[in-house]
Symmetry: C2
Subunit: 336 residues, 2 copies
DNA sequence: ATGAAAGCGCTAACAC
DNA sequence: GTGTTAGCGCTTTCAT
């Protein structure tokens, strides 16, 4: 049961001062004019005693933990877990570690996570903010703690953030759906005020307009995050039983998965009777008999940029800059 | 730009000693015989100044960070992200936070993660160990740092762990496949020595034996984690082009997903020509024209138990106990 | 019942 | 070149 070896241990082992050892450990022997042979002796001791620096001591002193707090709606959602994977990887490269939490789109849970992460002194937050969490983000900004918003954003204030052009991506997808003879194009979206979702809806409507199709209120189906299955069934039943439309645009992959279950159950023929495009990828899309067309977000780029912004913020370069990336429309059988 | 308020701030604000405040903060005022009115005053100041304890200071003193390190093969894999979600939730309940990393089934990456997490002084590890990482785990045990193995385990030494009865689950699934008239039953597994995988293979062979079917070497197809797509295609081509078997058992969901892509491409009719059962769930399984039968692991129970064991370990009750849970076979169209 | 002080591991300012 | 020391926020022991 050997205790971890500390700087002090090495110092007393060698009969030198702690400071010297610290300098060598941090590779500042030149700058600090440590005698070369001394440095060599210390390096040897570090190896021999298998010294591993204690981050906690460092953290207490520096106020930095080299930890990033990641809050998403649900880490089990493939969209977020893919982002988490990329964030983790990029953070590790930069010498950071990631602690994560799922908000379930609840402002309360989010608040709790923020508090817990604050107590753990994370250096920065990367958050896919749930509705009603603007205050939490603002609060962090006030405390001068870097926050980077991903996927979502807030209209009423600026923050560091990375997201795609939701309006453009949706517009493009719906433009594609309206490209042929299909004129009755519906959308299933989340029932939330979050701007990224409203942008997708706006993009949908813009494309309709562009194609000379008059938007009909009943075409916009909404489902809540909490009751996605039930709401989706109810909303789609109105549109599909009997079939009132000839194309359908899903605002997220979870909505598409929920919707496809119903579509399959009701035996609606894709794409003959109904063309489909969804936002985001899902493994499930590949196995539907008509593989789904979808909007592909550059998850790795989003993650990399988010970590980059977070670290910039930690280094004091808070820029409140939002990076907007482009998504790609991947066409497959479901919208032929 | 207000600084965080510390115990010291409260103490000097009130003109009392730091110790007193510490007692009250930790709710030990009775035990420490703090005067009731004093306690009241301090509680008020804590509220007024919005004091939040600094975990780092606590950690340096206690040696505990209330952080658990989670290492899985790939957090983006739905199986692991679902576990991560449950672990996160359970850990939070117990006042712990989770940092995570993906090993990509590489012993080197795993080692690196262990080191990083050690530097961050995690109180315990929860690991789905990659092949060749037994030494890493043993090393942690030697350092008296609690480790809980999930999903996988090692034969040659005991450790805290939670997993399912892989042998039994596989045996049961294959028994089901062999229940009708199907006699040529193949399996696609990962090419690894890891016992949990070997157990699944052994279960498969045991079921064949039980059903009086002579195992054929060519029926056991193997794929490496690193080249899953290519290996799967190659291995399955041998079995399916032309069709040499009438049933196929996938050892994981990733293998099933890779395999189904080929099966779809080659137009093999499921279940008429080929019955299928897979280990683990995937959203994709629901959308295959013949929804897949699969072995359902109790992910939430695994996660809960893992966290429980980890915390027991932290509290000094290292028991080196392995909890073996039962999986459920969910039957659907693919194996009718 | 309250206060003073040491010490957890580390860095940095300063002294020699 | 090297050593000493204070201090980061906290808990805990020991005085008082």
């Amino acid at each position: 049961v050997k205790k971890r070896v500390s700087l002090k241990d090495i110092a007393s082992h060698l009969g030198v001062s702690i400071a010297l050892v610290s300098y060598v450990v941090n590779g500042r022997e030149k700058e600090k004019r440590v005698a070369p042979d001394m440095a060599e002796k210390i390096r040897k001791a570090i190896k021999d005693l298998n010294y591993q620096p204690n981050f906690i001591g460092k953290s207490l002193q520096s106020g930095q933990t080299r930890t990033i707090g990641l809050i998403v709606a649900d880490i089990a959602n493939p969209f977020f877990s893919a982002i988490a994977r990329n964030i983790e990887e990029e953070a590790k490269k930069q010498g950071y570690v990631v602690i994560f939490g799922s908000s379930d789109e609840s402002a309360d849970k989010s608040k709790n996570l923020v508090e817990v992460f604050l107590n753990h002194q994370v250096d920065a937050f990367i958050i896919a903010p749930a509705a009603g969490t603007a205050d939490q983000v603002r609060e962090l900004q006030n405390k001068k703690i870097p926050v980077v918003l991903i996927d979502r954003y807030f209209r009423d204030f600026t923050a560091d953030g990375v997201r795609i052009d939701n309006f453009g991506a949706a517009e493009n997808a719906v433009r594609h759906l309206a490209g042929g003879k299909r004129r009755r194009i519906a959308m299933l979206a989340y029932d939330t005020d979050l701007p990224h979702m409203q942008d997708r809806i706006a993009g949908y409507r813009s494309a309709l307009k562009e194609k000379g199709i008059a938007f009909q209120k009943k075409w916009l189906a909404l489902a809540s995050y909490q009751h996605i299955e039930k709401d989706t069934e109810k909303a789609l039943r109105r549109l599909l039983q009997p079939l009132q439309i000839d194309a359908l645009f899903f605002a997220t992959n979870s909505l598409a998965v929920a919707g496809l279950k119903k579509i399959k159950e009701w035996g609606i023929r894709i794409p003959r009777e109904l063309a489909i495009v969804s936002f985001d990828r899902s493994e499930a899309f590949d196995f539907f008999y008509a593989p789904l067309s979808f909007i592909s977000q550059p998850l790795d780029a989003i993650a990399k940029e988010a970590v980059k912004l977070a670290i910039s913020g930690i280094q004091g370069k808070i820029v409140h800059k939002t990076t907007v990336l482009q998504a790609k429309l991947i066409l497959r059988d479901s919208s032929k």
